[in-house]
Symmetry: D2
Subunit: 416 residues, 4 copies
């Protein structure tokens, strides 16, 4: 029995599907301690958009550590934070004409979401929040209350309240006009729906099954929120930082949400970091009203800054992400057509792609077959029925070809 | 107007008391970009027990990064995690005969607390939790609900429920026998107190004003919990990792809580990391029932492991911490006696020390005077009335002398 | 300024629309102290199905009081309660082959609902309840949480949680298949809907605007609850006791809900009384686990018993109610056709009838015009847009004609 | 098996201790159907302060019914309500210089409490309420949340939140200064106590074990509330209407609470009726914001009015109640002294009296022995350890002697 089995809680999960001990990683590959290479189409669940140990970032990181740059600084002013703020404004906010103030809410995505919910409630004086079917926003109590998965919700041990789920885009395959239900409840003073402080939504639902909302649906949601005076929180923790092509998943929808949550790949190198972007008029907190120990991890600021400089000074990464996404879509189309009886469904946008199988068992079997062939992928969706691809955005065309070939083989091995 | 003021939310706080831009740090000193050195008696709010950029840890960290050790691994098996688990067992658990399984709950202390609360509720099937007056456990919704500070609670924007505060040790200066109120409510089936799943407590309350519970009080609490079948959660996020002398703040009380929360200094170098230690019989979660993106940050495992090896292979650090703590206590005793009319109160244990003034204004003025003299300290307590000392445990005797001299001067400057 | 205005809270409402002081009442008529008669199409909001001071019941009541029958008996055994129980079994339960045990939950409808919700949660161990758009179940905290009206909900002063509204029948005018949304959320483990203990529904929504669910919709709801192991609570407080024709509003749907709430007209004479009928397997409470002072008001048992004997020994009242309801429907049809531009909508079943106007102002104006002509009616619906008819079931054909003539005149006065 | 056992829920309780079928009642006596007389020291749990079927009230009631006075009127203006309002002002409010507006909150005590809590929260914008150990306020969700009994709380099926219990008077037998704990929590901004909208308290706790708060404690509580801007709700449902001597249980404490709840004996004859008295400045509800079907039961207004005229035009009843209470106290003193080893404790004020035994079994056995001797009494307290006397205030001296003799005998039968 290994030390992991002896000492680590049974709650661990990824190690069950990939029962090897990883040691090193570079770019799109992870290496187990026996030297075997794995092509990584998982990318830290979206935290490694620029690949493992990206050399640009690695250099900046080592330089910073070697020169004894301050590591841990809470919300003190630091050179590293200033560089990040300036670069984020120059590379991200200014070109997109986005006017946000930045909260450093704590180290992870759940902190970004908790800060967003707290602020929306404080600003509006309302408690209720609208979330969407199959949403995933995190495991802390506030974030969990707006998350859909029933197993994860059950772990709270208390009734999760103050959130009402509405149907995400395509939930009824078009049988119901967009927002018909939601807006009727809002307009009917007898509906029994508590007036919401905010709506929280993902541009593409990753954990929920790679459900990509249509851009017009996102635009419609933004319009609805404006009509009813509801704050729109866009959780871009997994789908931001270029995952769907543009830096923010909502850019092509032409909207600017009131609050945006970023984490995962914002730090660039896999180090914990998170941002809550807020419209200036929402900046109502007193000093220290929300705080936390790990809000100012300078090494993450350094790699974050370098990532913005290297990858977001032009639109090459965005174009490449879209092009590679289309390649995956094309392979998925072939698979869908090759196995008509399997009723496969191709899903996603940019380099967030999913292939839905008839069951979690099938999708799991394909991921297992891929692992045996040296490819890492996980499943998502309420029953794990979606094979989920989140490769590094920086993977090469050859790596993409290699991965798609393994996928094609693995699907064949399971479905044939 | 600086980029910080333009772009960062008004919620920032430390930068207001220390309006300089820090750049580098080493050991017990931070350096602003203009080269000025500051002696640090704050230590990242307890996240830097081994000082800034500790050379032992720095070396291990750079080695790991340079050899492309995997950085971000969620809960996959890694060499870095194995090293940490083995070392934590060897250096910490085994010598203390503590039998815990380890949950990696997410990157920060609030994640450790959220996991503890969720698990305690799931195991017991009860919702209610007992917390203590002036407790601080974090800013996410679950952690905030057991935190005392009314400003921070108010930021939740929803009523915080499921927690009932009980008086912490010495809350009534001995006017009330320990636990008299708490136990009467538990024993009286008509008391109206919801039967609690758990009690959550800090060994020493840092944010609450450096309130050090007597060891016999902690032992009494443990006994009470056992008598009534209540789980005891010890939040050692700030006071663990040697802050009070021993590795855990509760060791000298002779208890072994059901759940222990660690974060802040566990990573050693200021990188985000957290642990929730649970008695093996509480390990009831299904795989993935609690998860999170930043649970496996290998660079933090590497520095955590090195810190355990360097500082916890013998009892030197523990002895040194206690000795230095006594030096502070002695200086504080002199100050108390020097200013009888000020009714100063000396508080704390180990290198968690506080000097209580008659008001937050006075304590703040002393901290300001110290900053002007090159010393960083913050205030704590409900009204900020306590000058709080959390120096690195690794500070030298000379640095301690230097700091205490500045403090003596600063108190004089304010009180005279 | 009258004593009412001086001493009674501003929360009073009916007195505002009918600013006269009533003194006596008989059958379908109320008399103000100056002797003016008012035809009553309001019937105590459904509490006076057998008319004011019904002579059969009055005789039994006076006999009981005169012979010093015990008045107030909590849940002691009394002759009056035994008579009621035997008669309720003989006249109501047995002929309908309904197998219920009876909880006397307290004096009013809200008590019946509170008891139902408490019991459903205890039996299932779940907290969440599904209610419907525009539901009305009462003003106490539990009942209010499943009520739709936003003004009344707002009066709670705390967030109302644990209930999620679903669309009542015809909420989308058929644009959405029945229960499509509800059942999808139940079947999708990622939907974010807390698993419900129970569904609470009215057979016809009175306060919500005289919305009469189709019988097949009620049957469909019952089927859905059975498929998903959800308890069905039928709140027949206003629509039971023959209001829609049969004794229970759900009889013609061919269902037997798990829990049925009765109040208002069950006492017969307008004295407070309520019942919660529960399937025998739900009878799990310990003695005294739910109680209350006014559970055994014998005068109400006496009039309740007499009402069952006089009116429910045969099907004459049921037939008469349906026939009179059709007469109202016919008049409403004429009105709808007479004012095509007004888009009137006729609603209801049995002697629960509504005429929907384009606005609350119009419906209110018609009720005002009717009051001036000696007819009492109130409005209902989220915006008060429905003129609501709940005449005594015992009104004569002549009284019905008289009332309908006044209505026709009043509509004309407003719309022309 | 009787119809009661077949058809009535197992939740019934009083019938278990008194397994006879009652039929008639007069004054202080109940009669079972076989003609046996029982002396009633229970008085409908305090709802029959003027005895069963009091002849003065009976006459007024029959007159009203016979002349077809309106029975059920919601909140319409009626002659019966006007008479009640005028009489209540003249006999109760004016002589005591109390300035209240009256809410008719629904038929029972729980409605009065629910209205009080809703209003206090709306007025203050705060959610939290302070209740007391061993409080009893009712069985609906809001009232239950401020009730102490754990069995009754458990029946809610959801976590009861928004209330924090504080120690009632003498809870620690003087070991702790009054309000020390409560006020410290209020004054400490870090205590974790949610700022309360209101305190809800009984002048004497009936169900909680006949705990009579000292008048100076009540005064101290009132002072504390005023100091901290907290509304004081006095629940006089059981202890009002002269039960402790004066009309209100709080009169002799010299306070005028912000909100007062009345029910039980306010109707006089045992018919459901309740009042929520509110300071004029709290009268902020919109028309209809709180409502209910059984707010205007005129027969109860008629008997209530007659009771006020007959019993509250002078201070005879008050004096008699106090004198009779002293007689009970004297007998209890004898019993305490006669059975020193039993550690009996005499409790109460006016005609709310209790004798505490060492256990619920003993107290129950004495009540059983008394029942066998023709006397009705119930137990109260968290473990049923208190023999509870609530005789009609109108009982004669002979009846009191008779009852006390039975009690003395019954105690002897059990303790000897």
């Amino acid at each position: 029995m290994s030390i992991f089995e002896e000492l680590e809680s049974e709650v661990r999960s990824y190690s069950r599907g990939w029962p090897v001990v990883f040691d090193r990683a570079q770019g799109s590959r992870l290496y187990s301690e026996d030297g075997k290479a794995y092509l990584d189409f998982f990318a830290g669940a979206g935290a490694l958009n620029y690949g493992h140990n990206n050399p640009h970032l690695k250099k900046a990181l080592i330089d910073y550590i070697q020169r004894d740059g301050v590591t841990h600084a809470l919300d003190m002013y630091t050179v590293a934070k200033r560089d990040f703020l300036e670069t984020f404004r120059e590379k991200i906010l200014a070109p997109r004409e986005l006017d946000y103030k930045i909260v450093f809410p704590g180290p992870g995505g759940a902190n970004a979401v908790e800060a967003a919910l707290k602020l929306a409630r404080k600003v509006t004086g309302k408690e209720s929040v609208i979330n969407f079917t199959n949403a995933f926003h995190g495991m802390t109590l506030g974030a969990l209350s707006v998350t859909g998965n029933s197993m994860k919700r059950g772990a709270a041990g208390i009734p999760l309240v103050h959130a009402t789920p509405m149907p995400y885009d395509k939930y009824f395959d078009g049988a119901m006009p967009d927002f018909m239900y939601f807006e009727k409840l809002l307009e009917d003073s007898g509906s029994g729906l508590n007036e919401p402080a905010a709506v929280i939504v993902e541009g593409v639902q990753g954990e929920g099954g790679i459900n990509a909302a249509r851009l017009e649906w996102l635009k419609g949601l933004d319009d609805l929120c404006k009509r009813h005076g509801i704050l729109l929180i866009l959780d871009d923790v997994q789908m931001g930082c270029g995952r769907t092509g543009p830096f923010f998943s909502f850019e092509d929808a032409g909207i600017s949400p009131d609050i945006v949550c970023l984490s995962k790949s914002i730090g660039g190198y896999g180090l914990p970091m998170a941002l809550t972007l807020i419209k200036p008029e929402l900046d109502v907190w007193e000093p220290g009203e929300h705080n936390g120990t790990f809000r100012g991890i300078s090494p993450a600021f350094v790699t974050a800054t370098e990532a913005l400089r290297v990858y977001w000074s032009d639109d090459e990464l965005e174009k490449s992400t879209k092009a590679k996404g289309e390649r995956i879509a094309s392979t998925f189309k072939d698979l869908v057509e090759s196995y008509p009886e399997a009723n496969l469904v191709a899903k996603g946008r940019g380099l967030a792609r999913g292939l839905e199988f008839g069951s979690g068992e099938l999708a799991g079997a394909v991921c297992k077959a891929a692992f045996e062939r040296g490819l890492l992928m996980e499943t998502s969706g309420p029953d794990g029925e979606v094979m989920k691809l989140l490769p590094p955005l920086t993977l090469t065309d050859e790596e993409l070809s290699e991965g798609l070939a393994i996928i094609t083989e693995s699907v064949a091995a399971v479905l044939k």
